[in-house]
């Protein structure tokens, strides 16, 4: 019977639902994007390989309860002067550490025949391949120990596209960095699955760490140290040792040792925070939607005063009238929510098509939306329903 009344006032019902539709659609879409981001983050972190520890420059508080505000001096995060190559060598000596590589960033761009490409140029050691297993070569070879003093480069796919148009094989080609000629010895595979973060591999170019030093006024500019812990050791046992070792040379603790879990947790915290904040803002429209439902239900009760009187005359109890109007409000809200979810599928597929994020409307999000809709229907439908139920049949029948 409730559906009947909604169907009889199609246009009005739809407009009433609009608030709920927009609210549910936006909240569900945002939650889906958040979910997609989280999966993206965890995939990227896993791409690093397993049993990975990273030493970052700067003291970053990691763990629960720490706000973003206590990050310390943000400049230290990107400062390249804190971590030294000596640290790399000392960490290499720790038992259980399988591979260590400095990661230095070199600002600048590659040039070829007047074309310019500005990738992220990283100074790395060959052992990096044991640490970042996400590196895959499509052609050639990676930097080896014998390349230490050679001007060689392993380029990402972006450099190939930007400097060589669509040529597939560019091994042996020479490209210019500053005034130095580099030979291409390897090509990185383009990322197989698109990910918001995997584009890193596409824009990355690797040169030997010793060469990188030359372009940074002989400063090491180590931003991070990547460490692979031997699989027969527990990461949690090795981390304190690394920290201890580092403290010998850095008494001020101007560095941070993070594991994959720390990294994942940190990124997830940020994503969760963002998702919640944005979804909370979007849910304001749900309240607006609820007020819309209440408004139209109050109008409906007044309009249908005679109907209420008649229903009571033919034997409806006040309770039956209350239920009728309450169910009608919940039905409007729930129907709006259903349409909203459908729109969120549309929204997420647009996001999926236009960006690297793969949003996912989860079952729990749908159930949550349904619950919220029923809640909104009851909360905002109750007052009109009570008003309807309280109508005196005589007054109601006389109402013109």
């Amino acid at each position: 019977m409730a559906l009947y009344s909604i169907w009889n006032n199609k246009a009005r019902s739809f407009l009433t639902m609009l608030g709920v539709i927009i609210g549910i659609a936006s909240v569900a879409t945002l939650m889906a994007i958040g979910e997609g981001l989280k999966q993206d983050v965890s995939k990227t972190v896993k791409d690093l390989g397993s049993n990975i520890v990273i030493v970052l420059s700067g003291d970053i508080p990691i763990g629960e309860g720490q706000g973003m505000t206590s990050m310390g001096n943000p400049a230290s995060l990107i400062s390249g002067d804190i971590l030294k190559y000596q640290d790399v060598e000392e960490i290499r000596k720790i038992e259980g550490v399988e591979a260590v590589s400095p990661m230095a960033m070199v600002p600048g761009s590659f040039k070829k025949d007047g074309k310019v490409s500005t990738p992220i140029i990283a100074g790395l050691e060959p052992s990096i391949r044991k640490i970042m297993t996400g590196f895959k070569l499509s052609r050639g070879r990676f930097i080896e120990d014998t390349d230490k003093d050679k001007n060689v480069v392993v380029v990402g796919d972006k450099v190939r596209k930007q400097l060589f148009d669509d040529r597939e094989d560019i091994l042996g080609e020479k490209i210019m960095f500053d005034k130095t000629e580099f030979e291409i010895i390897g090509q990185l595979s383009p990322p197989t699955s698109s990910s918001l973060f995997s584009s890193d591999f596409e824009t990355l170019s690797a040169i030997p760490f010793q060469q990188a030093k030359k372009f940074t006024q002989n400063q090491e500019k180590i931003l991070r140290i990547g460490i692979k812990v031997n699989d027969s050791y527990k990461v949690d046992d090795i981390v304190p040792k690394i920290k201890e070792n580092m403290l010998l040379r850095h008494p001020k603790e101007d560095f941070t040792v993070v594991t994959q879990e720390d990294l994942l947790g940190m990124l997830n915290t940020i994503v969760n925070l963002l998702t919640t904040a944005v979804a909370a803002i979007a849910s304001i429209s749900l309240i607006v939607g609820g007020i819309g439902i209440m408004n139209i239900m109050l109008v409906s009760v007044t309009e249908r005063t005679r109907e209420i009187g008649l229903r009571k005359a033919v034997g409806a109890t006040s309770g039956a009238i209350l239920w009728q109007f309450l169910i009608e409000a919940v039905a409007i809200s729930l129907l709006g929510g259903t349409i909203g979810i459908l729109f969120s599928f549309l929204g997420t597929s647009i996001v999926a098509a236009k960006t690297a994020i793969k949003p996912e409307v989860t079952l729990s999000a749908i159930l949550l939306a349904a619950g919220v809709c029923i809640g909104v229907g009851i909360i905002f439908g109750l007052a009109p329903a009570i008003r309807a139920a309280r109508k005196d049949p005589i007054e109601a029948l006389r109402y013109e």
Binding site: L310, K312, A313, V314, G315, G319
Partner: protein, 220 residues
Amino acid sequence: MNLIKLQNVSKIYQHGKLEMVALKDITITVQKGQFLAIMGPSGSGKSTLMHIIGLLDRPTSGSYFLEGKEISLRTSDKVLARLRQEKFGFVFQTFNLLPRLRALDQVILPTIYARAKNRWQKAEKVLEKVGLKERINHCPSELSGGEQQRVAIARALVNSPEIILADEPTGNLDSKSGEEILKILIELNKEGKTVILVTHDPNLANQAERIIKLKDGRIV
């Protein structure tokens, strides 16, 4: 036993400090199977009396017995609703059909509240009885006034009540349709239903076996 007994029933409306007496010391009894007309000019309290009899309204003072059982102020809303379902069928001057429901659904409505079985069959049967078998799928806007009132009568009959309360049932109809409606009411009375007809039209009232005349809230 008296089907309905009213004893010194009064109804007073309060409008702020102003008191308006709608009914004053009404004492009547109605026997089962009677055809009773309540007559009086407008404002004489006849509709109020009908509403009190039909349990849509409660008297300010006095007592009301339905089949020997007293209906008091303490009688709950649920019980009153149940009694309205079982005992009374209402026919109004303005038909009071729901605008977008087809005739069949209008008639089914009371059976839903009564939780009756075989709703469709019951509704079809009473519609056939009032001569609307061919029009059960029509909405009120597609029916003439007389037909609408016949749907309303079918709706009043569907739960097989003992008492039909008709408030100026012919007031909005032309004389020919009005006669048809009256004929149906007389027919129902012959079948054993108690019919209480509220009207200001003496010609209509004269069809009843008993007439109660009201004026200014009192029986005259």
